[in-house]
Symmetry: C2
Subunit: 498 residues, 2 copies
């Protein structure tokens, strides 16, 4: 048997396997920093992580890599290998578009802004924030311009592309444009209808050990593999680690448990995606999760589609009683009402499933012209106030703290990310619509405690597909269509207006 | 002001700072592997750690490094810089003495032997072990020969040198030769004297949460800085992490707490050494702990010199009562008797402070001729039996499991390490003798709960000295003499025959 004539491709995969191994240490150190690290360890950790970032960046921008990519393109590759080469090229183009000096300036500006923001937000200090955010915006615009040139897209599209490859403003405009038409009315009808409901609040305190045990029990029921992962505590919950060892975090308060429980279910969706990525090509870009919108579609499939499904909530109820003892609030109907309460509010991360999209549309409509240079930072508060009034009917004037200062994304320079959250919610609705077409008994099966249909569908159509296809192809193959917000609308109407 | 004319030295320190940062990620991943990692994470972790080892080894053996060392030697260095250069050169000579192929063969042979040993030890399978250990011994002899050539020392000395730089067999022979003369007689007198003592055993179970809280409380009293470190659980307790973030581990059993508590005190000694290494040169070899014998002298200063000091035990007693409630066994006198029970036994790690040295002398007298090629593996059991009978008066014939199969060091190829344990115990006695000369009220101060004299002495004389001096110079500066086992003898006689 002759050896395959793909020397350049083989060399590429070898390099990416090495980067995967080194990235493993980086991921674990990041997780440890959030979950374990004592305060005096921070400076050494930051230096170690910076050293590794620089090392990986050098490997990723090695000019020899570019040559190998061109050589590999001429080699007789299989379809999955060709998909891997596509992802390798995409990463190489993005990594080499930015000079090291810009990456460093960006890092300095965002560190400084994020650090100051921690004080400025509670102090409601918009003017102080603007001083630190202006340099962030300048370097982000510069970055966007360089990336845009590379990808022949607009500057904002170039930023979105880092998180959701191939996403264009035409798509976001189409989708958000549709949602914008029906959302304010839907919110009004739902809040109207819910006004007459009575809801019993759970009575605390809720012992932390019992909360942790409950979360782990629910994670097991949701198929999380504890032989290949853990649940720990951090200030900001996230899904970290590596596919072979997934580290989820949550946080506990003793006066409230549903937030932590649903947050854990959310992270479990991310975690199962990671745990079920294809193992044969692990370490290669084609075996990584497709994108942030698709990742979010998994966490929201778990948290929203499944986690607040009345059939699933009825399964949760006895576990909650086991954890904390019986309470009237723990009746399945009441739990379901607690989980589906709709109330326009100021804070995105506290928003319910219905009003959430309004928070995202608002941010998209502000940060896009901000990146494109059509507006300036000084224009943000007035736009924020107007759009909050228009979309959610709330008054935010003068309240910067719970307005444009509320998210860490802007101080960290992560413009272009927000759309992924809502696209994720829409994809999740689209996946469940496809499941229901394939399995008309889906809801009955969920209500019976049998979640295999859900997990099998997600595994076959999303998790194991990883980055084999573009997002549009992935959606098409999984659900027969590209992103279609009609499923999200139908889901909200069925759950909230039925 | 002109810049110092030390370009080569500056380049060297820059390289070592980079290696310190990358080594940080390696240390944390090692700790996590023992303390947190779920089983399915192991293969990915092993691959990641191997990648980092290879990377660090390439940096450490870079021929350019050798040139820089020679150039730096011609530069106008300060004394601490010159000490750093000495340590850098020592590491470079050791790292470059071994070809990569030998390092890999060694790793394969020891992995295979250690893996099989886990089954062979409980199965008492000496013959099976010999088959796997023969290749380990062959590659260790090869390694020793190459290192010996580099350092102009004997083969066994070359192995010891990796753990205790500068240690020669003449020293070990002198010291162990003296101990050998008085130890069997001392053991006999102590066991004779203890025969009539009555000891009350503590009654369990001991709740794990209470044990953990007790350990942390004692660690605080011993000055461990929890803002720069943690205590966690692993199968084999160790002191890991980095000086800026020290990760100690212990293990708990619910039927016994003293082993875990004293083990934690032991690791706290290692931990305080690491936490108090000099910060101004951190990352440079001169700022690392001096050696394994000196490291062990710190853990044994804490565990034995201090931890079993009657004055300190009287301070421990109320904390133990706080943790588990009052028991007759927790009277200070009884605790002291529990901690100073002397009984010749088969197992090194279970040995008391008095008989421990016999286990080490026996291993030294076997592994040294084994490395030098004067004996073969087949000769080990008979030598083991004879020396155990001679030194401890116990019969080990046919019991390989609790004989030459008991330690992980040989399967892992760590020949030359054992002497460090006993030298550490002797140095610890020597440090406390020096403290008593400087502070005649030392024992009264310890009994009053004031440990500042102990910690200040160790900080000034050992911890902050790091690798500034050779071990002999360090001992001389700290205590006025090089290693002198008379202090160890005096300590044992004072504590066990008084």
């Amino acid at each position: 048997m002759t050896s395959p004539a793909t020397p350049a491709y083989d060399e590429l995969t070898h390099t990416f396997t090495r980067m995967h191994h080194l990235g493993h240490l980086q991921s674990m150190a990041n997780w440890d920093q959030a979950a374990n690290m004592p305060p005096k360890g921070n400076a050494a950790r930051a230096a170690a992580l910076a050293e590794m970032s620089a090392l990986l960046h050098r490997m990723q921008t090695d000019p020899a890599l570019g040559q190998r990519i061109e050589q590999a393109a001429q080699e007789p590759l299989s379809d999955p290998q060709r998909a891997n080469l596509r992802e390798i090229r995409r990463g190489w183009l993005a990594a080499t578009a930015l000079p090291e000096s810009l990456v460093q300036r960006r890092s300095l500006a965002t560190s400084c802004c994020e650090h100051a923001w921690r004080q400025q937000r509670p102090a409601n200090d918009w003017a102080g924030f603007v001083d630190n955010f202006r340099p962030v915006l300048a370097v982000v615009r510069e970055q966007a311009a360089l990336l845009a040139e590379r990808g022949a897209v607009s500057r904002y599209e170039a930023l979105m592309d880092q998180f959701e490859p191939g996403l264009r403003c035409a798509t976001v405009d189409r989708v958000f444009g549709q949602v914008r038409q029906w959302l304010p009315d839907l919110i009004q009808r739902v809040t109207e209808q819910q006004r007459s409901r009575t809801i019993i609040e759970p009575t605390g305190p809720f012992a932390l050990a019992a909360q942790r045990a409950l979360c782990e029990r629910v994670m097991r029921r949701l198929g999380f593999d504890f032989d290949g992962g853990r649940l720990d505590v951090s200030t900001h919950p996230f899904c970290g680690g590596v596919p072979e060892d997934v580290r989820l975090t949550t946080r506990f308060r003793d006066d409230e448990f549903l937030g932590s429980l649903m947050g854990t279910i959310h992270e479990t969706g991310h975690g199962r995606y990671e745990q079920n990525l294809p193992r044969d090509l692990l370490g290669q870009p084609v075996a990584e999760a497709r994108s942030m919108a698709i990742h979010e579609s998994q966490s929201l499939s778990f948290e929203m589609q499944l986690g607040s499904h009345p059939g699933f909530v009825a399964q949760l109820a006895p576990l909650i009683v086991d954890a904390f003892g019986a309470q009237p609030a723990f009746a399945p109907d009441n739990l379901q009402r607690l989980l589906t309460r709709v109330k326009p509010g100021l804070i995105r991360v506290d928003a319910d499933e219905v009003t959430y999209a309004a928070h995202i549309i608002l941010r998209y409509e502000i940060e896009r012209p901000l990146v494109e240079g059509e507006i300036e930072v000084e224009d943000v508060p007035a736009l924020w106030d107007a759009k909050m009034a228009e979309l959610l009917g709330v008054d935010t004037r003068g309240n910067f703290r719970d307005g444009p200062l509320q998210d860490v994304h802007w101080p960290e320079g992560l413009l272009g990310y927000f759309p992924c959250y809502s696209l994720g919610a829409m994809y999740a609705a689209q996946w469940f619509a496809a499941m229901r077409r394939a399995h008309p008994d889906l809801d009955a099966r969920i209500a019976s405690g049998d979640l295999a249909l859900v997990f099998d569908w997600l595994r076959d159509n999303i998790w194991t597909q990883a980055s084999r296809w573009t997002t549009d192809e992935l959606a098409l193959r999984a659900s027969g269509e590209v992103l279609n917000p009609a499923h999200f609308k139908a889901h909200l109407e069925a759950r909230y207006l039925a």
